[in-house]
Each structure stands twice: as structure tokens, then as C-alpha cells.
């Protein structure tokens, strides 16, 4: 299973974010979206990763980006996890049918029954502009996400010549 590549329209989905609410990707058109697939709530690396992004919400909002976490954990698990870690990032439950969204993005690990640790940065039209799959034990940090967001913002403000291809992530953006 290969992760969806930059340049692909991100498949829409609708997943529960709380016991009585759902979030659809299509509702978020008009602003960049950072999709964070991760294996499981509570495991140490994931917690560090989401904790780090939680610290960087101000940086993400400078790009008007919405960050979303997705794992196969159920909604009650997400709620307890968010409360414990004081997370202000919506966590969606890819729980039933299990892992369907992770599969659609090509980042489902059949053997483990969990999502891979994968990042997708979408532009305001919902097109994937940057994809990164991290080794499961390694927390990828936020530099790649922020570079991708900066690149999208630059591209849209017309300060960069239009590019026909997936936006290269500028090293010094």
C-alpha cells in the first residue's frame, strides 16, 4: 500500500470527532489542512508528536491551517486522551469500518491493525501538497509541515512562479 502522493486530490471522509459530531474533510475547504495519521492514542511517541503540534497551534494558525489527528481508536478513547494531555487538536475516530480512511490514503498497516505515522498537508482546494511517512518509532517533528504550509502560502500569494508539479518543499522557506 503506497501513500497518496503530492498532487492527488485528498479523498473526502466524514468521521466522528465527538460522540455526537462528525467532521468532514470537505467542510474544511478554503484553508490548508494538516492530516496527521498516527498508530494509537497513549503510546509514547504519538503522545509526544501530538503534544508538540498542540504547542504549535499558533504557528499553524498563522497559515490558517486546520490540524486534525486520525487513528483507529474509538471516540471515547480520544476524549480521555485529549483530556489527559490537554490537547486542542480534533482527533477523529477511524474506527468503523476500521481504518477505512487510513486505507484510502494508503497508510494503513494491515499487520498492526493501525494507521502508519503519516502526514499529509493539503492546500485550500483539498489537493495533497506534501506527504511524509515516518518510521513508526520516530516522531517526525513539525519542520516539514511548516515548510509545506509556507510553500503553499507563498505559492498562493503569487510571490513564487506557478509550478506545474507537486510543490517542492523549499529548504529555506
Amino acid at each position: 500500500m503506497a501513500p497518496l502522493k503530492a498532487g492527488t486530490l485528498a479523498p473526502d471522509f466524514s468521521l466522528p470527532s465527538t460522540p455526537d459530531q462528525k467532521v468532514s474533510l470537505s467542510e474544511l475547504r478554503g484553508r490548508p489542512v494538516v492530516l496527521v495519521f498516527y498508530p494509537a492514542d497513549w503510546s509514547p511517541v504519538c503522545s509526544d508528536q501530538l503534544g508538540l503540534y498542540n504547542e504549535l497551534l499558533a504557528e499553524f494558525s498563522e497559515f490558517e491551517a486546520q490540524i486534525i489527528g486520525v487513528s483507529v481508536d474509538g471516540i471515547w478513547c480520544h476524549l480521555a486522551f485529549c483530556k489527559d494531555r490537554k490537547l486542542r487538536i480534533p482527533l477523529l475516530a477511524d474506527f468503523e469500518p476500521k481504518g477505512a480512511v487510513a486505507r484510502a490514503y494508503g497508510v494503513y498497516n494491515e499487520k498492526a491493525g493501525e494507521a502508519d505515522r503519516a502526514l499529509f498537508v493539503l492546500d485550500p482546494e483539498g489537493v495533497i501538497r506534501w506527504t511524509y511517512v515516518s518510521p513508526v518509532g520516530i516522531n517526525p517533528g513539525a519542520d516539514g509541515i511548516l515548510k509545506a504550509l509556507a510553500s503553499i502560502a507563498q505559492h498562493r500569494s503569487g510571490t513564487m512562479p506557478p509550478q506545474s508539479n507537486p510543490l517542492p518543499v523549499k529548504e529555506d522557506a
Binding site: 509526544d48 508528536q49 503534544g51 508538540l52 498542540n54 504547542e55 504549535l56 504557528e59 494531555r85 490537554k86 486542542r88 511524509y132 515516518s134 518510521p135 520516530i138 516522531n139 517526525p140 517533528g141 513539525a142 519542520d143 516539514g144 511548516l146 518543499v169
Partner: protein, 177 residues
């Protein structure tokens, strides 16, 4: 690209460093004073410094996780204010050695204990320069691919193995051969 997270910017004269600038290897830590894992890494760094002597230079940069740790910022400010009086490492060590007692009200007493001029200490914290410096550290950490705390870099490359003595020692030795 994330696989080879690189320290940005490299170590310079603005950094707090222990050891010689021409040491064989430089170890950089991005740390948070209230983070228990950084607290656990503190004696590990001391042990590495003992083991490697002047072959090793150690640099500390601030990466306060203020959402998770409400006192991380005031502690970082205290250490930076101490730095202005030439006592960064004294304050740094004192905070980590007494991490369990860290709270904002205790910091002036600690400042006194390391021999700081309290009035100067207080004034420095009220001015914006220290906060600016901490932010610069934090932003450099984000650019460098810091992915949690503590986050170590050995000669500018992120150390992705656990931050324990054996793994850091092995990482440092690899750079010395």
C-alpha cells in the same frame, strides 16, 4: 528530509555552551525545565561530560512546552536572567536538580542561592529581551526538527535513539572516530 533533521542555525557564540569550542564533538540539547524526561536527562549529560572531558562541548537551547508545562517558561526566563549575570549554568543545574519543587514563587530564592542580584534579576525578566531569546531558541528548534523534549543533536544531526547514557555515548563516540 525529516529523516535527517539538522540543527538550524548551527551552534554559535550566542549559545550557552560548556566545554571548548574546538571540542571533537558537540552535543546540543533542546530542553524544557519542567519536563520530567529532561530532568532525567540532566544527570546523563553530566555523566557524559565527565566521561568525555574536553573532547565534548555541551550546548543547551530552550524549548519550553508551555501547554503541557505551565512553569516551563518562567523557569527558562530565570535561567536566561541568570545568564545575564554570568550564572546560566548554576541556575540551569539548580532548576533541574530541584525540578520536583519547581514553581514560580521559589525562583527568587533560587536566584539568591546562586548569588544573583535580585533586583537586576527581576528587571531583566520584566524586559522583553529574555522572552525574545527563548522564542528564538524555540523557533530554531522547530526548524531543526525538534520532536519532543529532550531533543538531542550530535554534531548537528538529530539523535533519534533514546536519550539514555549508553545510546548518547555511542552516538558521540561514533563522531569521534
Amino acid at each position: 528530509m525529516n529523516g535527517s533533521a539538522t540543527l538550524t542555525p548551527p551552534v554559535s557564540g550566542r549559545d550557552h555552551a560548556q566545554g571548548r569550542a574546538d571540542a571533537l564533538v558537540t552535543l546540543v540539547e533542546y530542553g524544557d525545565y519542567q519536563c520530567p524526561y529532561c530532568g532525567a536527562a540532566h544527570p546523563v549529560v553530566k555523566r557524559l561530560e565527565c566521561a568525555f572531558g574536553n573532547k565534548l562541548r555541551f550546548v543547551f537551547r530552550n524549548f519550553p512546552l508551555t501547554q503541557a508545562h505551565p512553569y516551563a517558561m518562567v523557569a527558562a526566563e530565570a535561567a536566561e536572567a541568570a545568564a545575564l549575570q554570568g550564572k546560566f549554568w548554576e541556575m540551569h543545574d539548580l532548576i533541574y536538580e530541584n525540578q520536583g519543587n519547581l514553581e514560580p514563587d521559589i525562583l527568587p530564592a533560587w536566584a539568591q542561592r546562586v548569588g544573583l542580584d535580585l533586583q537586576e534579576f527581576g528587571t531583566a525578566i520584566k524586559q522583553g529581551e529574555i522572552t525574545k531569546r527563548i522564542k528564538e531558541d524555540r523557533n530554531s528548534g522547530i526548524r531543526s526538527g525538534v520532536n519532543g523534549t529532550p531533543c538531542f543533536f550530535i554534531n548537528e544531526t538529530r539523535h533519534d535513539a533514546p536519550p539514555d547514557y549508553d545510546s548518547l555515548r555511542a552516538g558521540l563516540e561514533e563522531q569521534m572516530t
